[in-house]
């Protein structure tokens, strides 16, 4: 069976790059008794695929990895087993069965990602940015230069920003609230507090994501800063990825989006 596993990556784990995270996930699975399916051949590896690699420096509440298992596990048992083996900063939130097959891969389903941004201390813009940012967003066309590995192309960001809000209200996300790290003795004091205000941010962005057109939150902010003359250096914000969505009915006539969190594409195993 293929299970879609959702976890958060917080704290110091934000410095761990995607490749190292993948290796560490394999070690984590080995520390559990979970019966993972391996590929055939001389150097067998676990059959697993990530939906959406996270850049170094970003935290996330919505990392997704699909893993093939040799036997069936109840969702809640799997989450518990994984959390028992998890290092500080990794917390498993959910696990659901997803169908196998190419079109059902997390990677191909990603259509939108939500981010909360917070100014790094000492790098806050003057108050005027809030008004300017609203003005920036209300433009019918927002041209930006998207840099690839070799190419550079101009794109219009306007239709790819699904939502944007200044100073969103703090809110909690299911699973983060019951973060057990401190009580299990993994972390020194003070970490708990850091997790409690994880949702407090200065900017909220819901952006197009995935293979078709992936917009990084940094691109939006850089484009704004350049247009309106604000400081635009690297690592200006702490960025948290709040949720990643699929858009399963995007093909129908209405042309409307029906975003569903990636975990919603799976079925809880009771």
């Amino acid at each position: 069976m293929r299970m879609r596993i959702k976890y958060s990556k917080q704290g110091l784990m934000k410095y761990i790059g995607h490749l190292d995270m993948m290796r560490s996930m394999q070690k984590l699975l080995r520390r559990t008794e979970v019966d993972v399916t391996f590929s055939e051949g001389y150097s067998p590896h676990m059959i697993m695929s990530y939906a959406f690699p996270l850049g170094v420096g970003m935290t996330s509440d919505s990392e997704y990895v699909d893993v093939d298992l040799n036997k069936s596990y109840r969702s809640r048992d799997l989450v518990r087993m994984l959390n028992e083996a998890a290092p500080a900063g990794i917390h498993f939130l959910d696990a659901r069965e997803v169908p196998t097959g190419k079109g059902n891969k997390g990677m191909t389903q990603v259509a939108r990602a939500d981010y909360t941004l917070q100014f790094r201390q000492g790098h806050e813009w003057p108050e005027s940015w809030k008004k300017d940012f609203k003005r920036f967003l209300s433009q019918p066309e927002i041209m930006a230069v998207k840099k690839g590995k070799k190419t550079e192309k101009e794109i219009n960001l306007a239709p790819l920003i699904y939502q944007a809000a200044v100073c969103p209200e703090p809110h909690t996300v299911e699973g983060i609230a019951d973060f057990q790290a401190e009580s299990s003795g993994y972390l020194p004091g003070g970490i708990r507090e850091a997790f409690d205000n994880v949702r407090q941010g200065d900017i909220f962005l819901a952006l197009s994501a995935g293979m078709a057109s992936n917009i990084r939150p940094e691109l939006v902010m850089e484009t704004f800063a350049k247009q309106y003359g604000y400081e635009a250096e690297e690592f200006l914000f702490h960025i948290n990825r709040d949720e990643v969505f699929a858009d399963p009915f995007s093909g129908d006539e209405s042309g409307k989006h029906n975003f569903v969190p990636l975990i919603g594409m799976g079925k809880t195993v009771e």
């Binding site: 190292d20 205000n197 960025i239």
Partner: protein, 716 residues
């Protein structure tokens, strides 16, 4: 999203430098304690970059051992890589320990493991970035703290002349193989621990707690610590030199008559019950040795005459196989590693190797755990095991003959005959392997042009073994890779008296091998590479240097020498200017043949093996050219028996009986055995060739008969 997890480095630095994972201290199984509830904070440092230091077994053992003590919290420190080094100096950021991210200068101990000589400038980097004065003598006074990375005094009011109390600055302690000649770096250390860490550390830590509670001075503590067996406090000992520069005398200063004249190496008696890793640290980033390590044996039975490890880790002691099985299972479970490897100086000499390896394969192979088997002699068993655990097409076999000719192999006491090598290689080739790696050393005692050329000849003979196999049964072309390093004489080896050469000479030696390889029939199947020659000479200077070398090391560090073991930072010119500035005569240390009665800078250490044994071995090597049996075959009375354990004793009816020296009988028997082995190898080879010849003949006859039959048919 706010980032209140404590890091010593601010986020913008962490995101700008290479591999921030090196500095976080958030690896799985790191030990965290409440610092207000411990008496001792121990910073255990490896003076090289994280990837190298994290791969070191000894630190992980000591980390577990220290942290078992409720009153001690041991943390780790590695050399900040050059990019961060620059930033820390610029911004005066003090060096910090990983787990707590607290500055090292707040600790009680800074332990530095000394695994290779080329890390000496990095030792100074650790002290300097920590804000400690580089010289132990300067740490005895109050307010000695420095501005990190500058060497400048931190406080204008300081240098009161008053004695510092214990606990003001960490005690800097060195250990590891290079501590067996601590003299070149003696000025920088408060003390050295000579030998294996598992024995007297508890005694030292208890003494520290007692003295700190009593409010003693730093100096008083050092004086007391110097009384513990195995602890050497260099500031209480002084050398005196002759006119020719050699050592006249060495010992404790007259005002400390109670201090031991010789420092005795520490060794674990019961290796099976000695502390081992409780929960291995699992790094996030890829490190050099990213796997579970099982230490199966300590010490080596084969006295190769160039090898320091083979002498200083005597006596040879083995770990019980049942203990190892339990450790393997536990360590794999708590780490989640997908590979396990065996660690020892010569795994093939482990008595229960077959049982252990079979267990590992049966138990963990099905869980997709890789079994890595380094330092195995090539024989039927190891080939069988290797074909089970690795892809024959991709893996290569490794031989370390160390010398090209049998004559020189006997001089260095390698205990490996040409027949052993060719037979092993032949068996492997017939088993499907086609890649071989060969390791040699150049510049060994008595070595001549012919010995060097024989390296190429041996490679060709191995190639012959391959091409002797009929073409249709071969696995494509074979590839033989020769690597040579240059020999560095090390203290406490039979070769400690030997001369070294100039870098240009070493490169000539390598050129001889290279030319000869090109002359070989199958030269296209032989690849040759050799090591840096200038680095070798520096290593030689440090290995056998005395206390006067310290100022050269300090001067080179001030010129910016650091990470000398890394080609990208290695700079011979910095060392040349340091030597001329400090008036150091390199040739005195490297190119001088030591007299047999010369007092050597490390003679004050008693490493178990006696100087007489080493000298006898030196004579056997350079005068007689004869080999010495290994410890299993015969006790050669090296001196290590006084540790009362290991291979030196046989268990007879439950009683420990010391082994005996019967060299003569052994030598007579050995001559016969070797002759038989050679005859057997040649007979087998002749038989194989004859069989192939016969098969070819038969095939030819059959083909002719068929042709003839065809011709007849055509006629009729």
């Amino acid at each position: 999203m706010s980032n209140r997890e404590k890091t010593a480095l601010p986020e913008d630095i962490l995101l700008k430098i290479e591999k921030p994972e090196r500095y976080l201290g958030n690896e799985l199984n790191t030990v965290r304690k409440d610092k207000s509830k411990v008496d001792i904070r121990f910073a255990m440092a490896f003076p090289d970059v994280y990837e190298i230091g994290m791969s070191h077994l000894g630190i992980q053992i000591l980390y577990s051992m220290f942290n078992r003590r409720g009153d001690t919290w041991c943390e780790r420190v590695y050399s900040p890589w050059a990019d961060l080094d620059r930033i820390m100096r610029e911004k005066h950021i003090p060096l910090f320990a990983l787990e707590s991210q607290d500055p090292v200068r707040e600790f009680d101990f800074l332990g530095i493991t000394l695994q290779y000589e080329l890390c000496y400038t990095n030792v100074l980097q650790l002290l300097d970035l920590s804000g400690l004065p580089l010289h132990a003598a300067d740490r005895l006074k109050k307010n000695a703290e420095r501005v990190p990375g500058t060497g400048m005094t931190a406080d204008a009011e300081q240098a009161s002349g008053e004695d510092a109390l214990l606990g003001e600055l960490p005690i800097v302690i060195g250990g590891g193989p290079c501590a067996y000649n601590p003299e070149p770096i003696a000025d920088f250390f408060d003390m050295f621990y000579i030998g294996e860490g598992e024995t007297v550390y508890d005694q030292l830590l208890d003494l520290y707690i007692e003295c700190k509670k009593a409010g003693t001075t730093r100096k008083e503590f050092l004086l007391k610590a110097a009384g513990i067996e195995g602890i050497y406090v260099p500031m209480f000992y002084s050398p005196a030199y002759q006119k020719d520069g050699t050592l006249r005398s060495f010992g404790p200063d007259p005002q400390y008559p109670e201090l031991p004249k010789r420092i005795r190496k520490q060794a674990v008696k019961d290796f099976s019950t000695a502390p081992y890793i409780d929960r291995p640290l699992v790094p996030y980033m890829r490190v050099t040795q990213d796997r579970v390590v099982l230490e199966i044996m300590r010490g080596c039975i084969r006295g190769c005459r160039f090898c320091q490890a083979g002498m200083i880790y005597r006596p040879n002691r083995v770990k019980n196989v049942e203990v190892l099985k339990k450790q393997a299972e536990h360590l794999l479970k708590v780490s989640g590693q997908d590979e396990i490897t065996l660690s020892s100086l010569s795994s093939s000499d482990y008595p229960c190797l077959q049982e252990l390896v079979t267990y590992l394969i049966d138990e963990f192979g099905k869980k997709q755990v890789n079994i890595a088997l380094p330092s195995l002699r090539i024989d039927a068993f190891s080939l069988d095991v290797m074909s089970k655990v690795q892809d024959v097409n991709k893996s290569s076999l490794t031989f370390a003959p160390e010398a090209g000719s049998q004559r020189l192999r006997d001089v260095i006491n390698k205990g490996l005959t040409e027949e052993d090598i060719l037979h092993g290689a032949g068996e492997a080739f017939r088993g499907g392997w086609n890649k071989v790696k060969l390791y040699f050393m150049l510049g060994q005692p008595t070595e001549n042009e012919e010995d060097r050329k024989d390296i190429a000849h041996l490679a060709q003979k191995i190639a012959d073994e391959y091409y002797e196999i009929p073409k249709e049964k071969r696995n494509g072309k074979c590839m033989i890779t020769i690597s040579t390093s240059f020999f560095v004489p090390k203290p406490f080896t039979p070769f400690q008296w030997a001369v070294m050469y100039d870098p240009e000479d070493y490169l000539d030696f390598a050129a001889t091998v290279s030319r000869e390889v090109r002359e070989m029939k199958n030269s296209r199947s032989i690849r040759y590479n050799w090591h840096e020659a200038y680095v070798t000479v520096l290593e030689g200077l440090f290995a056998r240097g005395d206390r006067r070398v310290a100022k050269t090391i300090e001067s080179a560090y001030r010129h910016g020498a650091i990470f000398d073991a890394w080609t990208e930072y290695w700079d011979w010119n910095k060392w040349l200017s340091a030597m001329s500035e400090t008036g150091l005569d390199l040739a005195f240390y490297t190119k001088r043949q030591r007299a047999e009665d010369e007092l050597l800078p490390w003679d004050f250490i008693d490493c178990g093996v006696t100087k007489k044994f080493l000298l006898d071995e030196w004579h056997r090597a350079t005068i007689d050219g004869t080999v010495t049996p290994n410890c299993k075959e015969n006790c050669n009375a090296c001196g290590a028996m006084k540790y009362g354990c290991g291979i030196c004793y046989d268990l007879v009816d439950g009683e420990k009986v010391p082994r005996k020296n019967h060299y003569r009988e052994w030598a007579e028997k050995q001559a016969v055995v070797n002759a038989e082995k050679k005859a057997k190898f040649e007979a087998e080879k002749a038989a194989r060739i004859a069989a192939q010849e016969a098969a070819r003949e038969a095939a030819r006859a059959a083909a002719e008969a068929a042709k003839a039959a065809e011709g007849e048919e055509g006629l009729s």
